[in-house]
Each structure stands twice: as structure tokens, then as C-alpha cells.
Assembly symmetry: D3
Homo-oligomer: 220 residues x 6
């Protein structure tokens, strides 16, 4: 995979065009389910997945730090990283992400967070403009309910398999996972498709019929 300029690509690409391109490459299960939503409407995220795998727990053992893996992953985040917390969502049980983790991640230079668990401290995260995509909103801490048990292993989040190093892209329309092996090809094709969509829109705005414009550009 080439080095990509995430900041520039975030200006041009969007999840719908990436999803279409991934479909065309035969990868039809790359969009997270619709319950995964951004914490504010204009949040856009693009980066490399750093995965955390969660399990339910129903007690905390004496002397156990239930946040151990979570803290380790947070403190190891690098610029360009997206924390992906796989909680087998949708769930009502836990909000593994909140203001304090957002603050810690932002200070490490991370791009944001995607989780199919809940998020809390929504007001503060919006004020920080830190892009978090979540599986619902709720105040419940994970302590005594669940814990992260593995870092940088394959997981699922929002119904999509995510491997460490996959490209995560999220915007108002949802979250798409681009497997690292096809990331270059996907991004290249997506940039091309953006152009066709722009032409299509322009001609539609001039009043042409959809049948004609679709026949010409082949995108919808």
C-alpha cells in the first residue's frame, strides 16, 4: 500500500463512491451497518485501523485493571491511526469511548475512533470536533460489563471484518472499510468515479433525462 495523503483525500472522497468501487471489485460487505453513526454531522475520518477486540465480562477480579488493554492501545496510537473498537454491536451494554479517551487519542495525533459500542460525553466530543463514529449513545462505563482483551487482531465492527492496517473511511453516510491489499486500487478508482458523478450531476442540473445521462456516464 502506498502512502496516502489522508487529509487531501478526505476533501474529495466520500463513503458512497468508495462503497461503489469496492462493489465493483467484488467486495460487497465493506460498509458498516447503518446503526454506526458519526457523533457530529460533518465528521469525516480516514486512517489506518488499530483494532481493539472486546468481550463481555460480568465481574472484575481482585487486583485486575479492566482498562489495561484499552490504555495500552490508546497510549500507542500514532498519527494517521483510527481506533476501531469491536464490541459485537449493536449493544445496550457499554459505552467504551468518551471524552477522556478522545482527549488522549487526540493528543497522540490519532484520526478518530470507530466503534459499534456506545459513546458517552457526546457534548464534549462535539466541542472538540474529534471524529467519533459510534453504535449509539449511552452513559454506561465498561467496568464490570466488558473489557478489551486483544489489540491489533482481526475483529468485526458494525458487521464488517476489520484487520489492523485496513483503511477506515467515515462520513455522514456511514463507515467503509478498505482492506489494505486493495487500498491503492480502490482509492485510484474512486477518484476517477468522482469525476463521472460530477459530470452526471452537472448534466442532470441542465435538465437532461436520467435515462440519457446514465447511458452516457454509466453511474447512478
Amino acid at each position: 500500500m502506498a502512502e496516502h495523503d489522508f487529509a487531501a483525500l478526505k476533501q474529495t472522497l466520500y463513503t458512497a463512491v468508495l462503497s461503489d468501487v469496492l462493489d465493483g471489485l467484488g467486495h460487497m460487505h465493506q460498509a458498516m451497518r447503518p446503526f454506526v453513526r458519526p457523533v457530529f454531522d460533518d465528521a469525516v475520518i480516514m486512517g489506518r485501523a488499530r483494532t481493539g477486540l472486546w468481550m463481555n465480562a460480568y465481574s472484575v477480579a481482585a487486583g485486575e485493571n479492566p482498562y489495561e488493554h484499552e490504555i495500552a492501545l490508546l497510549d500507542d496510537l500514532k498519527p494517521g491511526d483510527v481506533a476501531v473498537f469491536g464490541c459485537d454491536g449493536p449493544t445496550d451494554r457499554i459505552a467504551p469511548w468518551g471524552e477522556l479517551l478522545s482527549t488522549a487519542a487526540m493528543c497522540r495525533g490519532a484520526e478518530g475512533c470507530v466503534t459499534d459500542g456506545l459513546v458517552r460525553d457526546v457534548r464534549q466530543i462535539r466541542q472538540m470536533k474529534f471524529p467519533v463514529f459510534h453504535g449509539g449513545i449511552g452513559p454506561l462505563d465498561s467496568r464490570g460489563r466488558a473489557k478489551m482483551v486483544a489489540i491489533d487482531v482481526p475483529t468485526e465492527c458494525g458487521g464488517v471484518r476489520v484487520a489492523p492496517g485496513d483503511i477506515v473511511f467515515g462520513d455522514i453516510d456511514g463507515v467503509v472499510i478498505i482492506p489494505s491489499a486493495i487500498a491503492d486500487e480502490t482509492i485510484s478508482r474512486a477518484l476517477d468515479k468522482v469525476t463521472s458523478e460530477n459530470h452526471t450531476r452537472d448534466e442532470l442540473l441542465q435538465g437532461r433525462l436520467l435515462a440519457d445521462v446514465y447511458a452516457k456516464y454509466g453511474v447512478l
Copy 2:
């Protein structure tokens, strides 16, 4: 059914009063389920239903244009029409509506779209201020997942039966379908009920007890 001035009625009516009137006429299943939501909060829609019936598909045959019916319906939309896409929602599978269809529909003079499928390109549709009511947000194109198979036939959308020519009314509180056979009666009664509700509100604001005001106007 009389010709109705949708633009004027949209200023006065709202889904709650229409739902109450339909209840009073014995039609208690006319409000779509709550998962059908407007793409922006102040969207209001009123118009005649133009229905499209969707089915799941798991492949595209050689030479097939999976968008055939969809394009035909879009290009045939008239001013005052509302595209109603029945996708057997809620669904995670497809986003049959997006920016390009919104553009095409707007250029034909259509009033908007109601679907129990997903919608994509939410940011652009909000900028266009085109009223779309949807069953969720997601980036997934329908190609290879589903297709429209019939136009202007009875369908269900959001749990409500919709026949071509029925009146569709949607606002922040949801979407109500007014069967064409009782549209005149429903609209007439609803305009009356708005007045009673205004009186009720006024007297409550003056501090009167709900028991007294309800006894006087009979609305709640």
C-alpha cells in the same frame, strides 16, 4: 379528489393532526413506523404518491440494466409527485436514493421522496433542501443487491399500504398516507382540528387546567 394547493396546505397542516383525523375516520394504520425519518429537520412534504416496488436480487444478469424501472419512474415524475420507494424496510441492504436521483427528481418538479430503504449523499441532499424521508442512512448502492420491479402499483412503505395517487404528507413527526378516496374529507377535517388545537394551546398557556380545556375543546 379535488385539486389541493399542496404549497399552502404544507404551511398549515402537520402529520399529528392528519393522523388524528384519519383515526377518527376509522383508518388507524396510516402513519409510517418511526424509523422513517426526514433527511433534514424542517423538511415538509406533500404530494401524490408515485410508487416503485423493490425486490432483493443477488446478481445482475448479462446485459441487464438493473436501474431500468428506477430511471423510467424518475424521468416520468411530474410536479406534485412524491416518489415512494417500497423496499420492505427497515433494511441494512440498500440505499436506493441519493444525490443524483434527488437532482433528477427536483429537475422534473417532483415534491420529494419517501422510502423505507436507506438514503445516501445526505450532506448534498441537505444542501439542496430536497425533502427526502428515509429508513436509515448508508452508502450501499442497490446494484447486485436489489432492484425496482414495478412502477405505479400498490406497495407498502414503512409499514403502511400506499397506492398510486394517495396523498403523502411528511414532517418532523413522521409520514402519513392519506388514501385518495378520503383525501378531501381528511384535509377538510384536519383544517378544522387545527383551529381547536390552537384554542386549546392558547387556554393552556393562560394557565387553565388540562381537565377544563379538554372538556371544552375535546382535543389532546
Copy 3:
């Protein structure tokens, strides 16, 4: 339970810290399920629960006033009260709360409403800035579908048991119920924990690692 200054506490406390403190006291089922949401994003509510218990109904008997208990509860609301309507939500069936009840409640000095049923007249309630937490949005009146059958009895709302007189606290992250027997202890501990969270945030913003800050303050 001591008298609490709800207006002041609403400025300082939030559901996440209250939920954590309740967890610490062994009460781990006090947060309503995430489908219960505020009708506007900056709604904050704190007050004493006045409960209304709802049942499904499928007809209205001759001469029956199906709103009888509802009106009685509304007209009896006192300053500091929160109407809690337990509808066994989530539901698609009824919107027991709307603009008129909001108006009536506000004129009695009530703090707001929490229900796991639907709410309607969302636009007007937002304009009134009356804090309503609801289990979804829809236009359906309760008449002929359900009715309130008991006032000030234990109920469940959003999956949490609520007894009359319990403290209700809601904000953007959800709704938490504080049983009256532990209200003083919960509030006192929560005020302390807010301070620790503030220290944690400050040190994270200075770039310290999460591992170090958590070791120092023990909050996450």
C-alpha cells in the same frame, strides 16, 4: 433525601458521572436503554419522578374518557416534578406526549417528561425548549391504542425501574434514574468524581499518557 437544588446541579452533573457512581454503589441497571433520546440536543433534565403506567387498549368503551388518568397526572404536576410515562417501549404504537401536554406541564412548573413511548409535535416542543426525553418520534395519538391506568406507582421506563420520587437525570448521553434511598449519597459522590475527571482531562491535554493519568486519578 435532602432537598437538592436541581437548577444548580444540572450545571455541574451529567449522566456519565452519575452512572459511574451508581455502578460503584452496586446499582448497575440505572441507565435507560439508548433508544430513549432528548427531543433537542442540549436538553438537561433533573427532578422527582411522577410516574404514569400505560397499557395497550384496542377500543374505547362508550362514555369512557381514555385520557382520564393522563389529565389527572398532568394537572397535579408540581415544580420539580418530571412526568415519567412507562409505555413498555420501544414501541411503534403510540405517542403519548406532545405539544399540548408540554404546554400544560410547563404551566404547572414541571421540569419535563421522560417516556419510552413516542413523542409528537417535536418542532413546537423544541421551540418551547421544554426538556422531553422520548423513545422515538411519531404522530400517533394514544386514543384507541393505549391508555394510562395508574398514577404514582412503580413502573419501568426505557428498561429501568422507576418509583415515584426517584430522581430523574437526563442529558445528551441518556437518562439515569437515582433511587430516592441513595440519592444523597449518589449526588455527593458524583460531585467529587467530577473533580477527578477534570484533573484527568487537564493532564491528558498536557500530553501525559493515559496509563500515568489513570494510575494517578483512577477514573476513565
Copy 4:
């Protein structure tokens, strides 16, 4: 409605043919949802609905007998009656029917019970061969969880409206409700359709193609 010989009709009719006839009469919502199942496979039930409407409850008041309506309905059952307990199922909360109610109902001459709540004491009810159709199996008593609040009022059970006096028919394929106003017509047509289905089966068993047999008898 004519007097019907339920015992004889139970030998000839079945839910599938009744459902088809009700469809043909324009009543397409008369079959309970598939989660309503017989407590033993060869249970067949036919009789007049005696309805009990249930609500959730979360406490028992001092001096209250939570079984009051339930006992009253049971002791008032007549031969040919079917107890229909509408619990807004499917539910995990309560098993309002069990061995003791089966015994009481059987001793009154009742035909059986249909509920969308749970049933308990399944082993004993099977031994009694008392036809009970239920919404699941579980041991939970209703006390402190729910109570019956009305007798012989319209209710819903398994997703179907049931009015007192409607005809209830259940067998291995499910439960169908025949509104009393169309009971005679429905039963008469169903007896005719049984004959056509018998002819169809006979000719298929002789090896004829489905296309030919369907063309001849028009049933499938």
C-alpha cells in the same frame, strides 16, 4: 351466526383452508404470527373467543389480588369457549397460563386457550391433552409482572384483533381468528374448498403436472 358443531368441524377443517377463504373475503390479517404454537402437535381447537386483556405491572399493591380478573374469567367459562389471553406478545416476561388454569378451564367445559404470552407446566398440559396455543414456554408467574385488567373486550393476540365471540381455530399450522360477522360464510366456503383441495391432491398423486391440475381446480 349459526350454531356450529365445533367437534365435527374440527375433523374436517384446518387453518390453511380457513386462512385462504378469509383472504378471499378480503380479510388478510386473520392468522396469528408464527410464534404462537400449540403445546402438543396434534392439538386442534375451535370455539368462541372469551378475551382477557393483560397489562404489565411492576408491583402488587397492599391487599390487591392480582389474579382477580383472571379467576373471574376462568370461573365463567362455558362449553365451547376458548380463553384468549392478549399479552402483547411475543414476551419473555410472563407465563399467564399453566396446569392449574388448564384444569379449571377443562372442568368448566372450555375448549382450550390461546395466548401470546408464555405457558408453563407443559408436561402436565400435554398429559391432559388440553389444547393450549401459546407464545413460548417459560416458568414465570404473572404476579408482580403483569395482570389481566379487562374481560370480554376487544384485544389483540399474536398480532390479530380478537373480539369476544369471534371464532378461534387452531391446529399444527397456527391460529386463525374468524370474525363473528363472517363466520357462517367463512365456514361454508371452507368446506367447499376442502373438496377442491382433495381433488387436486388426488390428481397430483396420479402424476399429473401442477400446471394442469391448477388450471382445472384453481387451488394451490
Copy 5:
């Protein structure tokens, strides 16, 4: 794909061993979801998939035969064929299979039916000992609710993709789809694994510890 002796293989193989082998070949999504169940407990089915793709419909057009494709598929079934009806189940809407189709299919020599729709006439199908796997039991005819729209196209059933000619295997534990391209390899490996499982069972019955037996045979 080689010709396989389905009758002999049905005696030796079972879904669990086939599912394990498919897992080992990297095909981890070949088992239908657990709601698909056999109509009688000792039903075993093995054969080639003949697929029918269903869509919801809400009306029958004048002159339309809604059973057209269904009848065509039934009359074209060959010995060794399994009718696979993809209805986007689980569903409460339709029972597309029943006694008459079972009779027609049996008379054509078909192996049985798998559907994620409902089945009706369960008693008679059990008497026929015709292996039908279904997504629930209910009396509802498809007419006016749904129709088959394509034959021998890729579909999904019970959450698994099924292409015409894939091998269908079902027993008490569920239904597994073996893609035709890997059918020979899967069957060959499965026969080997049966032997290892037999050895494992024998040694466990002799009282050896699971740890030791698993270390020796590597199956669980």
C-alpha cells in the same frame, strides 16, 4: 463436480462435519441461520439446488397468475433436485410451501424443499415423510402477499447464498450449502473427518480425557 450417490452419502454425512470441512476450506458462511428447521426431526436431505427467488407483492393484477413461476419450477423438478425458495426470511408474511407442492415435487422425484419462508400443512407433510426445511410454520398463502419472480438464479436462503447446482445438505442440526465448485473436495474431506470423529468418540467413551483425545485426533 462428480456424480455423487446422495442416498448413500445421506447415511454417513451430517451437517456438522460438512460445516467443519467448509470452514477448513475457508468458506465460513455456508450454514443457514438456526431459524431454518426440518418439518420432522429425522428428515435428511441432499441434492442439487433448484432456486426460486421471491419478492413481496401487495396486489394481484387483473389476469395475472401469481403462481406462474412457482408452478413452472415445480413441474420442471428432476430426481436429485432440491427446491430452494429464497423469501428473505425470517418472515411472518407467507407460507409458500405446503402439502400440494410437496405432493407435486415428490411425484417428480425431487429430494425435498428448503425455504426461509413459512410452511403449512405440516401434519400431512410429516405423514408423507417428505423432507422440507422451513423458516417457520404458518397458514398464510402467498397470493396477494408475494410471488416467485425468477427461477434458477442466485438467491439467498436462511442467510446463505445459494446458486443453482450447489449441493444442499440438511438434517436435524440445520442446512449447509456446498458450492458446486468445491463439492467434490468437501465431500471427500468430510468422509475422512467422520472417521476421526468416530475414533474420538470411542476413546472418550473409554474414559480418556478430552485433552488427550484432542491431542491425538485434533477434532472436537
Copy 6:
């Protein structure tokens, strides 16, 4: 907790009476949800819980034995133990129990198994008459999908908290967990209540009204 003669108690007690007694002691959440069912109808289980806690996994690391904890728990089972596998069910993902584990457990003298995951090899387990209570039936091995990560820790199963050493009781009506701290009291009261229920049944069979019999014995 006293030593209890599980074999004798299984003859006399049943889940409904235990659930009622636990209700009376203020423990109203001790019955597993109804999706947990016995693998054969006359299965009865009573014993001490030996818990295994499961998590989802999406890969198997090189050199990892994903069955490690599972095998350890199985080989450590003692007479009177019930293996309780907490899989956060209901689930479609895994069948962690099957014939081989049943064989191993039976050879250790264990009483049976309760899981909210799926079970496979249902035919063979029925033949063994080994009482297994499960959350559904399916062929899917856990390898690459999930793994047990802790033994003899508190877990949840079928929606009920289970601690090691709690008493598990299951029969045709479901599964009840008796916390070890109240086991003696619960069993003692249950034996008394069985007697009252027997008297109630006897008098009902003599034709007495339910109102009278309930007034006399107070059980229903």
C-alpha cells in the same frame, strides 16, 4: 449450602415452583429467557454451575489452541456439576456444545450442560439422553468464531447471572438459577409449595371454582 440429593429432588421439583419461590424471596430475574430449550422434552437437570465465559473471536493465532479452556473445564467436571456456557445468546454464530463434549462430560459424571449458544449433534445427544439446554440448534463449530476465555467466573447465560456453585435446575418449562446463598431456603419452600399445588389441582378436578380454591390455598 447443605448437600442436596439432586436425583431425588429432580423427581419432585420443577422450574415453575422454583421460580415462584424465588419470586417470593425477592429474586425475580432467575429464569432464563424462553429461547433456552432442552434438547429433548423430558430432560431434567439439577446440579452445581461450572461456568465457562465465551467471547467472539475472528481469527486463530498461529500455535493457538482455541479449545484450551473448554477442554480444561470439561476434563475437570465432577459428578453433580452442570457446565454453563455463557455465549451472550441468543446467537447465530456458534454451537459450542455437541456430541463429543456430551460424551466427555457424561464420562466425568457431570449432570449436563446449559448454554445460550447453539448445540449440534442433536440426534446423538438425544440418543445418549444427556440433558443439554441450549439457545438454538446449528452446525457451526466455534473455531475461528469464538472461544472460551475464563472458567469458574461469574457469567450470564440466557439473560440470568450465574455464579460458580449456583444451583441450576432445568426442565421442559425452562431453566432457573438458584443463587447458592439462598439454595437451602428455596428448595425447602419449593417442597412445601408442591404440596399446596397438589391440593389445588385435586380440588379443581373435583369441580370446585378457582375463586374458592385460590382463596383456600393461595396458589395459582
